[in-house]
Amino acid sequence: MKLTLWTYEGPPHIGAMRVASAMKDVHLVLHAPQGDTYADLLFTMIERNDHRPPVSYTTFGARDLGKDTAALFQNAIREAVEVYKPKALMVAASCTAELIQDDPAGLSSALNLPIRVIPLELPAYQRKENWGASETFYQMVRHCLMGTDQGLKRAHQNGPVCNILGFMGLGFRHRDDLKAIEELIRAMGIGINVVAPWQASPEDLQRLPLADFNIMLNPELSESTALYLKRQCGQPFTQSIPIGEQATDAFVREVAQLAGLDPDQALFRARQAQPCRAAWYAASVDATYLTGKRVFIFGDASHAVAAARVATQEMGFDVVGLGTYSREQARLVREMATELHLEPLITDDYLEVERAIAATSPELVLGTQMERHIAKRMGIACAVISAPVHVQDFPARYAPHMGYEGANQLFDAWVAPLMMGLEEHLLKMFKEDFEFHPQAVASHLGVQPVAPEVDTPSDEVRETPLAWSDEAQKELGRIPFFVRSKAKRNTERYAQAHGVSMIQRDTLYEAKAFYAQPR
């Protein structure tokens, strides 16, 4: 039993719904109690879909438990097949139905339906949403390929052809990332055989073996399928995630290699098709103020790692914290954290993330919707880089994070919440003017942050409250708000360690010098 206030991921059947909602001609029948239909609104409200997800629920109640929930489930299947006429049917149980052990697989196969039925095992008390999505995608592919000739290759070789795997419903920028990647692939002269699960039908999945290789994006959702296709059909797959300019270069070269094309020429074509301004923008003088900005990064593993790379190499930021909620993929984050000399934060407890943000006093938080709320409360600039998503993450405009266009958009998205160069400069210059009070922050941050100084439990137990002289207090107020709490903490820690009972103006600077030493 685990106390949870907010969750980063839903239960695994939500993952199955994400696959179902992405595909064509499939339907999911979910054995679930009344209330589980709430999940529909994730798709119709957050993703703003103009149709319900292709999911039917049995909505059993207490009285059914004493009777025949199995018959209820079979009725729901019959009705769904009759009304929606899917070409393949997925069946699964949500958490409560798992407990009553009705065996969706056996019940559905007993109906002898004329279509492919894919029973899903989604252990709700062990696994979470991303695992559920990954497993569902894998099972869909596996079942659709059953009985087909998996060694099948195209009769006419008309240049290299690939599949694109890993885009689905409720994904962070999936719609636009897919478009950006398709543009790059076509520019390189590579054909796209199947995109899956996004808008793929069961027949499309049967054509997966026709490609020469797979492009595997969003590994949280598609790596198991890519591994399966490698095993079954001998298709190699890409490993790099094209987020940021340099990673996109690496991706283009990797794809060219798998396609047997000249990497330099592929790169030239891809860059022609999708001009990248990000590097020049980062090099321009106005961007100098970005140097060493303290940034805290948290998200799913692939997005967090990609963001850490971009932040470090392409923006010149200082990554002060890096973490993920996806334990399954934590290895990637650990490796990147080691590279950046950081202690990785692997947790799905958002309070822990909040404490880590407070303790590192970042100037920018790159996170999920959860971190956006944390940052908002602390008055820290923030950009969202990863699922879990909210309605804002489905903008009306074309807004990829992948590819060269994605790199352009990352530059804009991460710089916009920070103070513009000149504005920051002026704010410092006129800090003492009457229009500015010591708590003044950049105007675009809107309302005054509630409490920049977040109390964090410190490892040292404070015996007596430390006194600050008026002068020292005033000096503290001059320190920019985003580092003020850290300066305060460090000064007090220093004062305690050095037996200073009344903190003077000088103590602040003594402490600053002390903590600036490399240790």
């Binding site: 949870t4 969750t7 939500i14 239909t37 709430y38 879909n49 039917s56």
Partner: protein
Amino acid sequence: MPNRVLDQEACAPEGSPVLVTGLGPTVVRERGQHEVFCGLTSIVWLHRKMQDAFFLVVGSRTCAHLVQSAAGVMIFAEPRFGTAILDDRDLAGLADAHDELDRVVDQLLSRRPDIRVLFLVGSCPSEVIKLDLGRAAERLSAQYGPGQRVVHFSGSGIETTFTQGEDACLAAMVSQQVDRLSPGDPRGSDAAELVLVGSLADVVEDQFRSLLSDLGLKRISCLPGRRGAERLMVNDQTRFVCMAPYLAETAQRLEAAGCRRIPSRFPFGLQGTTDWFLSVGEAFGQPSDRVLHVIKPAQRRAQLALTAMRPMLEGKRVFFFPDSQLEIPLARFLAEEMGMKVVEVGVPYLHQAMMAEELRPLSAEWRIVEGQHLEQQLARCRAARPDLVVCGLGLANPLEAEGMSTKWSIELVFTPIQGFDQAGDLAELFTRGFARKARLARRIPIGVAA
């Protein structure tokens, strides 16, 4: 016996809708996919009303995800609700679920010493595995009391629909927090004269208190109060009145505690609120002309607001999907006061006794559908092409995309809509979609080359 969804469905022969016809409206029962929330959702407004309470759902990741999704925006620093997520160890009996729960509660209460009442909220999984949360609440109350109390209720989807979660919560509070004074008790003068049952926005509560005190009522209590730890003193003189129709079990427990219910229509709209005050006045022996005199200024304001809204709704056809149990009184308001035509009113379940005053004036032309078969209801809705569809969030955008105008029903639960001064706001909620469409239909000529 509280009249709950599933008990009622048990009366209907499987598969065939039952027509209940009499002098009142036509009632049809349906069975199929229910597109409704479970009772856990009511935590979203209950925790805001009772600021010293924490709601701990004992359930699965689905429960946590549901409450989080229903709360919509994740804006709370540290919300006063959470989930003790059951895992494999709890289910396999490797861990004693009660020990685990004690540990989680300890973790929570030591973190939040400001919490006075902790609600242990049962869920579908906790009920299916028969985790006795009532016993856990007793044990934990003994441990943390009297400063911190632990109360159990069920918000599970197999037992409750959406607003029924509030009913279950308040019913549990009645069992735990009501002191029933015997006739000779010297504290008799402290017992409530009138209890308003059902959570109200503070501003609405104040308006009702003010009008009721003008009527001469002095000892008015609310259930829930603003503090979850508040105790309620009642005696055999105590009357109570429900502010919403979904409070059947709470009403039954209050009656068992010796209080008497004042039957009335629900205070929605000018007429509904007038009837409500007349019923309450009558119960306390107030002549109706005196009641009307007291409420007259408020009635005039409501009239003014409604007159402004009526042209946008009059003559339009409305279809209600089942959601919060407010469908019948709201449809009545729209028909009676706004001149709308009601095509169909879906309700998750129909509690005849609680709804009696609402149903009585309705004619046989009214079609009330109890329960739900989503696909069939959608088909009827499409065929009827109503001007306005009141439905849940899962259906709203798809229906809009089909060219229908919708109103999200959940907003009717989260927005203060009871009483005279909210009557205009209530009507406005239904006009909003039309007003917006009218704006978007405007065309300012664009100069183009001929």
